[in-house]
């Protein structure tokens, strides 16, 4: 329950960012370089209070976090969703078609899963170049295999059940059996994995942005904010990195809590 409430709050904050944020951190005309590196609670010349301080360019950290959350959530949801669709389709086809197609697909999946996500992502970014969109593509390519393996496992069990036999006896078209009969019964694990993957993708996006491979300086994501604060950390200006990190942590923890709960709800064995 805590997770659901927290997550709803976070999503609401991210969606409403343009309304509630004291400042638009992307709009350079709203930034005042003279307000740079102010500690939390400082007041600007224009009377604006920086509750969480400002970064080196005079950007309000609180606004940066609210807008950064948007980037993080969009990247996380988009990549997890796309990977889920691709992975599920591939896994279903592998399980239903069987034979050579199946073993070829599963070889590819095994190959992919034997490399850590961050390495796959680095490989893709090395090929595609930097940027948020490329991070999304890299995350999709790095994560689809997890779904494919799980869905295939579930689908192999479901395929043997009577309702599939019945559908086949009706001579329904293959795609219909696949997507209308088999798919809905394989979805529970996909939903759980997808939830967890959103959290992982958000963490990975932040990491890649921190490494300078993701978001650009003018459009701060949480990882980028933390990264810009890194150089000031050594001089004791902790807030630039600290607060975005806390926001990132709360986001990831709440998504994981929701995922944990979903697993219990969707898995009849645990009920």
């Amino acid at each position: 329950m805590v997770g659901v409430i927290l997550l709803t709050l976070i999503v609401a904050l991210a969606v409403l960012a343009p309304v509630i944020a004291p400042q638009n951190p992307y709009d350079l005309t709203q930034l005042d370089i003279l307000d740079g590196r102010l500690p939390p609670g400082s007041e600007s010349f224009s009377g604006l209070v920086y509750h969480l301080g400002t970064d080196s360019q005079g950007r309000d950290i609180l606004s940066g976090i609210l807008y950064g959350l948007r980037t993080s959530l969009i990247v996380g949801v988009l990549s997890a969703f796309a990977a889920a669709i691709i992975g599920t389709t591939v896994g279903l086809i592998a399980a239903y078609v069987g034979g050579r197609t199946e073993s070829a697909i599963m070889r590819l999946v095994d190959l992919q899963l034997s490399f850590p996500t961050i390495l796959m992502a680095l490989m893709m970014l090395a090929i595609l170049g930097k940027g948020v969109l490329n991070v999304v593509i890299a995350l999709i390519i790095a994560e689809w295999a997890t779904y494919a393996r799980t869905v295939r496992g579930t689908a192999l069990v479901e395929r043997e059940k009577e309702y599939i036999e019945a559908a086949e006896a009706f001579r329904l078209p293959r795609w219909r059996i696949l997507f209308r009969h088999l798919l809905p019964n394989c979805l529970a694990p996909v939903i759980v994995i997808a939830t967890m993957q959103v959290a992982r993708a958000i963490g990975l996006e932040a990491t890649l942005s921190f490494l300078g491979l993701g978001a650009s300086v003018t459009e701060p994501s949480l990882g980028m904010l933390i990264s810009t604060g890194y150089q000031y950390l050594l001089t004791g200006l902790y807030w630039i990195s600290f607060f975005p990190g806390i926001a990132l942590l709360i986001t990831i923890v709440s998504i994981n809590l929701v995922g944990d709960r979903l697993r219990d709800v969707l898995n009849p064995r645990n009920a």
């Binding site: 490399f115 970014l125 090395a126 090929i127 595609l128 990491t207 490494l211 950390l233 990195s241 942590l249």
Partner: protein, 324 residues
């Protein structure tokens, strides 16, 4: 057994070949090497000269053959930035990364295994619940941010430990190592701990899950009925049966530690391979990128192979033939 090992070996070589195709196609076809290799201000004659020099005017399959030939000889070309062979640049930094990854793995095992064992044996104690909640945090905390906080607390505020670099090193087996000197060790501590955090949680949770799976088994009940000491049951009967999944995970995770050291090395300015690859991606130093990726591919395929072999040695029930 020998036959199945050879079969595995052949499979491993095929995997490496498949990855060379992917890396080659990725770097040479999706990305355009000409744009990166050649100064945009260069005139037409200059362009053609560079294209011919790198063999980029050859048909693709011929380029691939050249690439494979280079791979076999360990020749990935010179780094654009350093002007030296890419492979030797990476190999020079290998000890630093290995040292970091091994230290992190040791920390993860030394902390994770006993705590997981404890939480598994006494699941209802409050301390066990605390340990498990702590491990969720360990999973969720972004590694790079924890690294920054470690620097902030231990290096900036408390001034106990240095912020970055490897410190003093000493020579051993022809390479430079930090863990042999006091100063180097103090530099190693924070990054190793940072890298270990995630794996500690993982090993902890796996150990706990394993213990809970083993405890209700008949042979444990039998050992109890025989009147064996609790100590013997835990350390011989439980632990031994935990080892197979743990060794697999530890083997696999060692590889991922090396991959993830990219992050930790960047934070702590640890001069290892990970920092080199990030710098190379930022500077588009293609030969170094390709050499790093191929080294990683070979490392992971090799690790998987070794794990497979360990499987058979550890557990006589698992025979590679049976699976094939």
């Amino acid at each position: 057994m020998a036959v199945s090992l050879i079969r595995r070996l052949i499979q491993a070589i095929f995997v490496i070949l498949a990855m060379t195709v992917i890396v080659f196609v990725g770097v040479n076809v999706i990305g355009n090497p000409v744009d990166i290799l050649i100064n945009p201000d260069a005139n037409q004659a200059e362009r053609l000269r560079v294209i011919a020099h790198y063999g980029l005017d050859q048909p693709l399959w011929k380029q691939y053959m050249l690439f494979l030939q280079g791979l076999v000889h360990g020749d990935f070309g010179n780094s654009f930035v350093y002007g030296r062979p890419a492979l030797s640049l990476i190999l020079e930094r290998l000890p630093a990364t290995l040292e970091l990854a091994i230290s992190a793995l040791l920390i993860a095992i030394v902390i994770g295994l006993p705590l997981g064992l404890y939480a598994g044996l006494y699941p209802n104690r409050i301390s066990s619940r605390l340990i498990m909640s702590g491990s969720i945090l360990g999973f969720s905390l972004p590694t790079f941010w924890v690294g920054l906080m470690l620097i902030m607390v231990f290096a900036v505020e408390l001034r106990w430990l240095p912020t970055n670099g490897r410190g003093a090193t000493a020579e051993f087996l022809g390479a430079q190592w930090s863990f042999l000197t006091r100063n180097g060790l103090s530099h190693l501590l924070l990054p190793a701990f940072n890298l270990a955090l995630f794996k500690t949680s993982l090993i902890l949770r796996l150990t706990r899950a394993g213990v809970q799976e083993v405890l209700p088994q008949d042979y444990i009940k039998f050992a109890r009925a025989k009147g064996l000491s609790e100590r013997r049951i835990v350390f011989v009967h439980v632990l031994k049966n935990l080892m197979i999944p743990l060794v697999t995970i530890i083997g696999l995770e060692f590889g991922s530690l090396i991959a993830f050291s990219v992050v930790t090395e960047s934070i702590f300015a640890w001069p290892g391979m990970g920092k080199l690859i990030i710098d190379s991606i930022n500077l588009l130093d293609r030969p170094v990128i390709v050499a790093y990726l191929m080294m990683m591919v070979i490392l992971f395929v090799g690790l998987n192979f070794i794990i497979d072999v360990c499987y058979t040695l550890l557990d006589p029930r698992v025979r590679l033939d049976a699976k094939a």
